[in-house]
Symmetry: C2
Amino acid sequence: MSTSIEIICIGTELLIGKTLNTNALWLAKRITSLGLNIRRITTVHDEISEISQTIQETLHRKPVFIITCGGLGPTFDDKTLEGIARALGRQTEINKDALKMIEEKYERYLKEGIIEKTELTPPRIKMAKLPEGAKPLFNPVGTAPGVIIKQADTTIIALPGVPAEMMAIFEDSVVPLLKAAAGDKIFFETSLDVREVMESDIAPLIDRVMHDNPYIYVKSHPSHTGEKVPRLELHLSTTAENSNTAKNRVSRALIQLSELIKQKGGKIKGLKAKPIS
Amino acid sequence: MSTSIEIICIGTELLIGKTLNTNALWLAKRITSLGLNIRRITTVHDEISEISQTIQETLHRKPVFIITCGGLGPTFDDKTLEGIARALGRQTEINKDALKMIEEKYERYLKEGIIEKTELTPPRIKMAKLPEGAKPLFNPVGTAPGVIIKQADTTIIALPGVPAEMMAIFEDSVVPLLKAAAGDKIFFETSLDVREVMESDIAPLIDRVMHDNPYIYVKSHPSHTGEKVPRLELHLSTTAENSNTAKNRVSRALIQLSELIKQKGGKIKGLKAKPIS
């Protein structure tokens, strides 16, 4: 497996079905487009023991990066940093740089008339309590900084759960690190819209195309449109050193697969190639 | 922790950011509404070793149910049953009841003119290869049956990834089992829409309300509306033996929280109580 990443989403709202996990989708898409491989996404409750246990289990699989999402704010249920600290056997301590970032935020909120006092109350100071050895990542949108901390060969990055804050810290502070780790790899994908063949009849064709095209991953997604005619999306993807190699590989597999499907009586209705980001 | 459930979502499309995990949301909401607690949701690739390792790790936490979603179809990348079998140290074998269900499906497809031959090809037979000791669950919408298998005190239920099929098998075959396990518990939730107070100023109020209302869980969700005025959703929830108890508990906490917020200068703009399902 190439440079691998695990995502840990922290939030009871995700486990009671209150919130759709769009953060996981966004991170997965963005990280994959950088040529990196997400091995697992785990969603856990806002509980220190759960967070800590999950971090420990994840470290055991030795990913290059662990990215957590959620639980960095000022309220009692924001427990991510305590969970990480416990997993690493470290204490949390007030980080001066983080405290300065937070102080400056509240000074701005005062100027903007959002608050009346900039006083650093315990909930506000809480956002600057990082595990020993961690560094804050500037939050251009909200208050709580992101956090980065190394443990052996793994870099743990903690991002907030508010989507706009998560995305902003990711783009500013995380993308450069991931690009450096990925090297010049890129991800390329395309989809075929196939009708009038059952998935069970397509199965051996996919086997053959994957055998003949070792770097290509093909996956079939049956759609239930309510119509009687079977309809499948066939998704082809690859990760390569440059976009030409990626496109050539996918094209070759696509031509072979299309031919085989037509021989089987299937109709190809559409081709959706996505631009390389 | 009460009767606990873990969900395992199997599908590379979820890890490359191709597909939003709406199945996890649907399952989480439906299971929570039955009064049960989802402890963790794990998403893994279509790889036997990953599936098997995740099942083993999950069994170690002794949930009452493990529900997997995805990977039951006819193609090479449908590896859930092999993964479960390996985790349990069992073989897969053709299950007669499952094979009969699948045979009857293809006979229907032939009558409906969708296919020309009902021949049980290897990809079709594959859907009937269950771990030893497992039983099929009838799929009213698609072809691949769901699967149920006991291991010590845990019941493992494997559902397909196509949403309509997953939901249909869940409602028909899984809900009765979960209801029996939950007893008469129900889940109740409500939300307050609060403006003009920072989350850091609300934090101590939530602490107090949770301290005074031990069965109530309160979580704050800051919204970024682009406006300068801070806006928060405060979500209150509880699980109780009957709906009166649940509603009374939530109401009491809601009144206390509203009073405290008003004293702090906050404005309450809305209250969203959800019906008990």
